[in-house]
């Protein structure tokens, strides 16, 4: 038995893919028996899904898991302060796109590659190849994986199928078409309501998360080859301008104060023909109790930019191990992460409404049987494939640079001189950027 | 011309009647004192004259003008309040000048009048001070000054001296009297202190339970009180009252008080006659009694034998509290050479011509 294991481990080191299909003996789940680990979690649907199942894991491993969950606003503060003060945190939820560089620089992220590669620690059935590559990349810093995705998101263009049919409009596939369709619908009166063409986030830092898809699709980038801010480049300026004009000309009033809540509610009120926002808001759009447009919504990947680029971003929550924890507990924490992200839980979470980062979950019969919006699933899969993991400025002080970026978006929405604003922001970003 | 006339003035607070059918006339340049115990309605009457209190019914005339519906500011009156009512945030100069400033007097005029008032009242050194930096007497002067500068037709004083100590009160009494002569204005002065009323008034208006009891010069109300209340209110110490009956013996009227019996002067006879045998109240002022040691063979018809209880020495005078049977009496007299001792038996002579007899039922004066 032991020999067989040893052999399997060696084989695994040589060829992990082979293991994933053949090894069934499994790892020793009891190897960290008696260890107690503490996880800080965002009070997120995934947390709600996994908490009642923790007892199973404790039974399987003999590890005691303490989960402390907080609402998102407080969670980030709480986590940062605990990690900084050296509190006993063994694992936590992280949004790598937001915090990975900062946490990595601060020395709070334990690389996971060694655990994943160790057949004594990682069961073959965990199958890392099953995760979408974009998310594995998104949960990595400098080539080292620092988290395992538990919630996978992207952004999609959602549109009113009924209106598009009624007015014989085609789903836009280019930015140019997007603007034309938005213009077409703006001011149209439907059921006594004046429509807007499209609704988008416009609220400073919050807007950057959706605007970034336009940035990439317009061929722009956060920084140039010299590592300086690229905001003053023609591509970046074009992206700022297009986004701002779209919202100002064809969007709801008060665009600069639209966060996702305001934007989605406008769409759900039936007042907008299109919305570009996170794909997971499908759950809102399709909820007949809250949404007047349930059942009437179609979904598409972001339209292509002038050079044909379609580059939406993907974002995710991951589970990470604290670098400051003790090795024994880190090992136990890895066992927990591994279990929480296995195929069974990936599917379970997806069926509970938490979008999984595992392809197998989406492909499963169980999911497909109950999928009421296959076009959403298709668009989401497509977006996952082409998605960019870097949806935030590649810096340590992400919030500060997002604020600087957001100011240009606000200026663009207000119709101010975008080039001047972008130039000023570029200078400020160069000054404030920490890498 | 600034006389003040009240006609059938009534003030009710809900069900309580504060002033009942008050009619009176204060003559031009007269110093009129409204006096009565607290709650008699005198302050309410004054406040109605001032316009601070709406009237329930009746009429008020100031200098022939009906002022019922006039604002206080249009009545050409000034008022001095019991609590001085100075403006705490203004210095004395501004306190004095405020009424003039409001009435848009020229600056120079205000200054002149303030100076004049300050001279009269001797408060020149206080002009820059705030009220909280003044003593009670100084505040009172400022309050007076504030009334003076306005040169109104009528001054209203609402117990202005009651917050001062006894000595200061005496001094201010004199000063206000002087002021009255100097200003030649009508003054209506409210007080509960009959001494103030007696010493300052041209005429006294005595009120009780919202109604006017008697009007007259100080000497009139002292010598000829209209009723039992006035008799008891005016004079200090108060008049002695004894319940008695009128009896006729040997052609003369006697006042029989049970413990003693005195003969009434003949001049009273005509008025006493209708009350024969009826219960009356016999009144005699302490100053109309003189006590002495029993002298052998004396004991006239108006001498009463008593016992001294307490002897209060006031200096040149003494007050002797006496018991005569069931009655208590107070006598006021010059201090005798030989001290009286308590418990001593004394004979008291009554100046019968100055005594009074009241109807017990109606409280009205018989003689």
């Amino acid at each position: 038995m032991r020999k067989a294991l040893k052999f399997a481990a060696m084989a695994g080191l040589l060829c992990t893919s082979l293991i994933s299909t053949s090894a069934s003996a499994g790892i020793d789940w009891k190897q960290s028996q008696g260890t107690e680990i503490r996880f800080l979690m965002n009070r997120h649907p995934f947390t709600t899904y996994i908490e009642p199942k923790v007892a199973e894991f404790e039974k399987l491993t003999g590890i005691k898991v303490v989960i402390e969950a907080f609402p998102e606003d407080q969670y980030r503060n709480k986590l940062t302060i605990e990690l900084n003060s050296g509190g006993r945190v063994d694992g936590y939820m992280i949004m790598p796109g937001q915090d990975d560089l900062y946490y990595s620089k601060a020395g709070w992220l334990q690389p996971l590659d060694a655990y994943i590669a160790d057949p004594k620690l990682t069961d073959a059935s965990w199958d890392p190849k099953d995760f979408f590559a974009s998310f594995a990349k998104a949960s990595s810093v400098n080539g080292e994986q620092i988290g395992v995705v538990i919630n996978a998101e992207t952004s999609l263009l959602a549109y009113r199928k009924d209106l598009f049919t009624k007015f014989k409009q085609k789903v836009p596939t280019t930015m140019k078409e997007l603007e034309q369709v938005a213009k077409f619908f703006y001011g149209k009166e439907v059921d006594g309501k004046k429509l807007v063409g499209i609704t988008l986030r416009g609220k400073k830092a919050a807007a950057t998360s959706q605007w970034v898809d336009f940035l990439y699709s317009f061929g722009g980038s956060w920084t140039n080859a010299q590592g300086k801010s690229n905001f003053a480049s023609p591509e970046d300026i074009a992206a700022f301008k297009f986004y701002g004009d779209l919202l100002r000309k064809y969007g709801p009033q008060g665009g600069t104060m639209l966060h996702w809540a305001e934007s989605t509610s406008t769409f759900m009120e039936g007042k907008a023909a299109m919305i570009y926002d996170a794909n997971v808001f499908k759950a809102l759009y399709e909820n007949p109790k809250e949404s007047k447009v349930a059942g009437e919504v179609g979904y598409a990947v972001i339209p292509a930019g002038p050079k044909g680029l379609r580059l939406p971003h993907v974002s995710n929550w991951s589970l990470s191990i604290s670098k400051t924890s003790a090795p024994e507990r880190q090992k136990a924490a890895w066992l927990f992460i591994q279990w929480a992200t296995n195929k069974e839980n990936g599917l379970g979470a997806l069926l509970a409404g938490v979008p999984s980062g595992r392809k197998s979950a989406w492909d499963s019969k169980e999911y497909k049987a109950n999928d009421k919006q296959p076009d959403w699933t298709a668009a989401t899969m497509k977006s996952f494939e082409i998605g960019q993991g870097q949806w935030n400025p590649p810096v340590i002080n992400v919030p500060e640079i997002r604020d600087i970026t957001g100011q240009v978006i606000v200026d663009a929405i207000e119709g101010k001189d975008v080039a001047a604003s972008a130039k000023k922001a570029a200078a400020l970003m160069d000054k404030k950027m920490e890498r | 011309m600034a006389n003040v006339i009240l006609k059938n003035l009534v003030k009710r607070f809900n069900s309580v009647t504060a002033v009942e059918n008050l009619s009176l006339e204060v003559h031009d340049r007269e110093f009129a004192v409204l006096v009565g115990s607290s709650g008699c309605g005198k302050t309410t009457a004054l406040r109605m004259i001032a316009g601070l209190e709406p009237i329930t019914s009746g009429e008020i005339f100031i200098g022939d003008t009906l002022v019922n519906d006039m604002d206080p500011k249009d009545r050409d009156i000034a008022m001095v309040f019991q609590n001085y009512a100075l403006y705490p945030h203004m210095n004395v100069r501004d306190n004095l000048g405020f009424g003039l400033k409001i009435r848009k007097f020229p600056k120079a005029e205000i200054e002149a009048r303030v100076k004049e008032a300050a001279d009269i009242l001797g408060i020149h050194d206080l002009l820059e001070r705030k009220p909280k930096e003044l003593s009670g007497g100084q505040r009172q002067r400022v309050a007076l000054g504030r009334a003076i500068v306005r040169k109104p037709k009528v001054f209203l004083f609402d117990e202005p001296l009651s917050n001062l100590d006894a000595k200061l009160r005496v001094a201010m009494r004199a000063e206000i009297s002087k002021l009255h002569r100097r200003l030649e204005a009508t003054i209506i002065y409210v007080t509960h202190d009959q001494v103030e009323a007696m010493t300052m008034a041209d005429r006294i208006f005595i009120m009780h339970k919202g109604a006017l009891q008697q009007t007259g010069t100080p000497m009139e109300v002292y010598a000829k009180p209209a009723n039992l209340f006035v008799a008891g209110f005016i004079g200090s110490p108060s008049m002695n009252f004894v319940e008695a009956t009128l009896v006729r013996e040997a052609g003369a009227w006697f006042i029989d008080a049970g413990g003693f019996k005195v003969r009434s002067p003949e001049s009273f006879n005509a008025r006493l006659e209708p009350h024969a045998g009826r219960p009356v109240i016999f009144g005699v002022r302490p100053e109309d009694m003189s006590a002495h040691k029993p002298a052998a063979g004396a004991g006239g018809a108006n001498t009463v034998t008593t016992q001294a209880d307490v002897v209060e020495t006031l200096g040149s005078e003494i007050l002797v509290h006496l018991t005569c049977g069931a009655h208590s009496l107070v006598a006021r007299m010059e201090a005798p050479e030989q001290l009286l001792t308590e418990g001593q038996t004394l004979e008291v002579d009554l100046k019968m011509l100055k005594t009074h007899v009241f109807d017990k039922e109606t409280s009205q004066t018989i003689v």
Partner: protein, 297 residues
């Protein structure tokens, strides 16, 4: 044993003035003195939470603040917001207090309803206002439209945002000023009013020459009390606009919060907090002096 105990008790007994306050002093030191001292120390350092140790940089943070556009924007917004809201709250609060001071039928019921905004939780009412002010789905624009008035952009417009926030602040806090001023009015002596009526003052003059000077210390006290909160107004602005649109409603205090807890730049954030603190301090020292000068009793 007993000997030792009684020795201890003697020892403590003789030094009561040290021993009895000791726990309180220790707690005070831990929760007040230490954090303030640490904050002052951070003011002179560059430190992002998590990234290394605080580095001493002298007055570097203040130099940076001086050249930071958002600091100046914050000062401007703070002056605009606080100036407008404090003046309005004081004026309206005084006027309404004067109105309530004259008892009328049902005034107690009206007063009770009137103070509800003041009694309500700031974040809760701010959230409700945020929803009501939404230009598309908010009830305020709905009402305006239904009576034929043009809808407004409210907090969604950079020029409208401060007046709108001032309106909400005034709605929320004027009752507090009213309550304070009303208490002050009720304690004023009645006599000077009668004296003034006889002196010939009309109601307006009485208000100007008597009430206002007499109530001034109370007004200043109310202003001080309110300014303590108002100059570092947070709940309301953060909940309704988060400083937006852009930074159009980002007060210095909000910016210092963002720097400290959004960017985790503890050193710079502390320095900005100290600046806010100094502004509040200076304002209150001035007010306190005014109050002492105008006190009459």
């Amino acid at each position: 044993m007993t000997a030792a105990l009684s020795a201890i008790s003697r020892f403590v007994n003789r030094r009561q003035r040290f021993f009895f306050p000791a726990p309180a002093v220790a707690v005070l030191f831990l929760i007040i003195v230490l954090p303030i001292a640490f904050n002052l120390y951070l003011t002179f350092t560059k430190w992002t939470v998590g990234l290394g140790q605080p580095q001493f940089i002298g007055f570097g943070n203040f130099v940076e603040a001086f050249g930071d556009e958002r600091v100046w924007n914050g000062v401007r917004v703070m002056i605009y917001f606080s100036g407008a809201s404090l003046v309005l709250e004081l004026t309206l609060g005084l006027m309404i207090a004067l109105y309530f001071n004259r008892a009328f039928r049902g005034s107690e019921a009206v007063q009770a309803i009137y103070i509800i905004p003041f009694a309500a939780t700031p974040v809760a009412v701010a959230l409700i206002w945020r929803i009501m002010l939404n230009p598309e789905v908010g009830v305020i624009n709905y009402l305006l439209r239904s009576v034929g008035l043009p809808p407004g952009l409210w907090v969604s417009n950079e020029h409208m945002v401060i007046p709108t926030l001032v309106m909400v602040d005034v709605w929320k806090w004027t009752p507090m000023i009213t309550l304070i001023v009303l208490a002050g009015l009720k304690s004023l002596p009645p006599d000077p009013y009668e004296a003034a009526r006889i002196d010939g003052a009309n109601p307006l003059q009485i208000f100007w020459y008597i009430t206002l000077p007499l109530i001034r210390p109370v007004l200043i006290a109310a202003l001080m009390l309110r300014s303590l909160d108002n100059l570092k107004e947070f709940d309301l602005i953060y909940t309704i606009t988060q400083g937006g649109p852009g930074i159009a409603s980002e007060t210095l205090y909000l910016y210092s919060y963002n720097v400290s807890f959004g960017y985790f730049k503890a050193g710079y954030g502390s320095a900005l907090m100290v600046v806010v603190f100094l502004v509040v301090l200076v304002f209150n020292v001035i007010m306190n002096r005014l109050r002492r000068d105008s006190s009459v009793v």
